[in-house]
Amino acid sequence: MNSNGCARDMIDEENARFEGITSRHKDSKGGLIPILHEVQELYGYLPDSAFVRISKTCNIPLSEIYGVATFYSFFSLKPKGKYEISVCMGTACYVKGAGRILDRIREELDIDVGDCTEDGKFSLSACRCLGACGLAPVIKVNEQVHGRLALADVSEVLNQYE
């Protein structure tokens, strides 16, 4: 009972925030991008249901919203994990074996690039140079950087996160 009530409260709060976002921007020209921005902040990504709701409340065709959301790499249509792993694919990291690191993480977590583990813990992306070439190969978990990573270290690093 309690946990149900709690979940409901959360949904109600989310709905209220969602409505706040759309009503704040819907009448301003070019309001779609800030809406998508804030909705992504709210859910961590842009779920299908959000497209439909934005379309209805703001009277913008779904395809237009989708076009904008898929044009900018900032927007994600898939959920992000509690911990977002970014594997640097910049030149230095690449020659130091970032590809193999990435493969190992994919195996360990059993997900592909762009996906999220079923328990919602980790999501995985490959990114451009993080600017820490001296530490290559580098991965970033949320804001924490792990450098000079060997294949054997991958399990240990992941295990640090609960």
Binding site: P61, L62, S63, Y66, A69, T70, F71
Partner: protein, 896 residues
Amino acid sequence: MLNLVIDGKKIVAPENTTILQAATENNIPIPTLCHLDGIHDSHSCRICVVEVEGARTLMASCATEISEGMIVKTASESVIEARKTIIEFLLASGKHDCMTCEKSGNCQLQDLAYELGVQRPSHYIERSAEPVDISEMIIRDNDKCILCRKCLTACNEMVVNQVLGLGYRGGKTAIVCDNGKPMGESTCVQCGECVQVCPVGALTERKAVGKGRTWELEKVRTTCPYCGVGCQLDLHVKGEEIVKVTGVPDGAPNMGRLCVKGRFGYDFIYSDERLTTPLIKENGAFREASWEEALDLVASRFKEIIQEHGPDAVAGISCARSINEDSYNMQKLFRSVFKTNNIDHCARSCHAPTVAGLMTSFGTGGMTNSFSEFSKAKLFFCIGTNMTEAHPVASTFVKNAVRNGAKLIVVDPRRHSLADHADIFAQIKVGSDVAFLNGIMHVLISEEKYDKAFVAEHCMNFEEIKTMVAAYPPERASEISGVSVKTIHEIADLMWDIRPSMLAYTLGITEHTCGKNNVMSVANLQMILGNLGKEYAGVNPLRGQNNVQGACDMGALPNVYNGYQKVDDPAAGAKFERHWGVERLSKRIGIMVPHMLDGLVDKKIRALYIFGENIANTEPDIRHVEHCLESAEFLVCQDIFPTETTRFADVVLPAAAWSEDEGTFTNAERRVSLVRKVKTPPGISKPNWMIFKEIAARFGHEWNSKSGREIWDNEISAFSPSFAGLKYHRIQKDGIQWPCPSEDHPGTKILHMNGKFTHAHEKGVLMPLEWTPPAEVPDAEYPFVLSTGRRLYHYHTRTQTGRCQGLNNLLPEETADISVADAERLHIEDGEMIMVKSRRGEVKVKAKVSDRIPPGMVWMAFHFRENCANWLTNQAFDPETLTAEFKACAANVCKM
């Protein structure tokens, strides 16, 4: 005007013209893959580049306006080089495999590659490989897409369905449906406008696959067999088979646009279920018969009954889906041979109040203005018209008007999808129209916001109507209609501020016990605003069936001959006696459909002849209708399919269908357009007009006309002043709108021009009208209002659409649409089977929970037999026109 030179040719063209337009106007061809004339805004393909003297680079001719003294070369060496490079890139990106492509032979990319001599390049630019997306009617192959964006323009700007978009970026850019859904799962309604504009094979008609190569197909222009818009179709025919259908480019009224039924609903004529031979019922079962036997039987039974009980003991129901010439011959048979005016048709169930109401108000019972004005209107007032589903192509022009800056007022009990485009949506209570409209007129008149000059010069009864609407202050109108006082004021103000406005309505106005009053009420509103007899104005009823205007025009009505010449006018009678070479035509006005049915029970009617109507499903209270049909002493059905109605027939006559005979349809805007023949009728079935002629012959009447053309040119047109100038040779392309009194007359786009109404006194008649509630209103036992109508994917009782591949899958079953609030209150889930009951009966049907339905309403259609709304609807009629109140009865909704 500006002077320029294109390819050495001196040209004068108006300012703000693009190079492409100027060249095309002057027969200088410039290729383009993305240009859509009139609405184009994409400039994406760059094939149209030209060399402009003095310009730094080649210029896209579709995006560059001409200037004084400009010198343009459209085919210089550098232009050709650039075009070749573009074509090479297009061919390199994507899988342009012409061998099995349906577009081969009519593909602009293929044509340009051929013209420019571009070989398929050896390199291949990788694109995100997407599977071919197959929806019910349309195949989408993004690997063949050249991203010209014509489909986007078609979807978003022409038909304004707003499904297609451009997704992703860079090399991954692709056309997407909604939020990246397969087309069949998206909100796409499958109108196929995108298919029609696609220059390559990225969008093709699924039903046409493998049916024939482009060069094997012959194009035949005809008129659509569905709603009253009367769209012009090009049938692409191989032998006797229609392979696909496209809209006639720039053809009036649809300007190339079609809806899902018009484009994909053609194959019912090839159904195995067609009637192919006459049938005679013996001992309760049908057996096949020859024409001789069947027609002899029909003639002898009609003769016996007429001899014994008089001519008014027989009656006929004509068909609003068949050609004018058929309805003409049927009424001629009843009037000149049987000597009765007992002839009617399904306008009784839809727009009879329009004909009678507008006849009273204006003197002519038709749409006053034209579809061609829709997109340029400044303000639209749409009441009781779910246009996007019932008249889809007409709705695209309304949506275009809105995109062009027009304001839109939608008044309807349901928040149907046209309301999504509206500036003001008034969710009116079912059956409160007169009170609501009186309320608006109250505001207009009391605030002196009415066209005083128009009313004084062109209208009668202003003082009467002023007194009447004085009794409907907005507060009272609001209480009756459920529309807020504020909204009533807003509507009145908008209608005063923006004039003229076009008013459109459909059956939400007519199918009430006060149907005729509703019609005259919208006429009142437009008259006091002076919105008549001019462009972008008028009262515009959208007729339901393809030829219901025509069936009325042809005199398939109990009170008029063809051309609305009254049967009780001795002069008209004498005229038709002379034309038809007969004596003693009946001056007695005939009876209407509901009385014909009741007459079968009380034996006032002994023989009924039903042509092309499935009245066992279409009339209110099916149980009652079937009881009437069962009671018939002799029933003839003439149809193209066995239907729920033919079960009751003694004789069934098989008829030629649409595309199996040549004739004419008249659309809602009074435009008479040709219907052409592309195949022979199945079995020994015959054209309808010929069957009537052969029955007449059995009564000793020899009719001369031997084709649709002869019937029209030598009889209908010759005997009707309003069609006198309308001859087949004049309507080989676009049809002509009546009245057309002489062969040098262009036809009439707008009725009552300059306020000159067609009444003898030339005035419009303002009719003071009191609001009356529906005959049956909700109560404790039946707390819901049941309202009915049509859905996009089906037509009438599905005799046609039910036999078209794909349409049934798009809408496989009926639903009862209820509001979210009622569903929550009654714990009904979307898709759950529920029971809908009225005092007439009950049906089991799937619930569709919709936020477009107001609480307290249940909405259903009459397309499916099992859960047809007409098991529930009420036999309450408009007292004068006997149109049933399909839009309102009391019902209840229960969980099973």
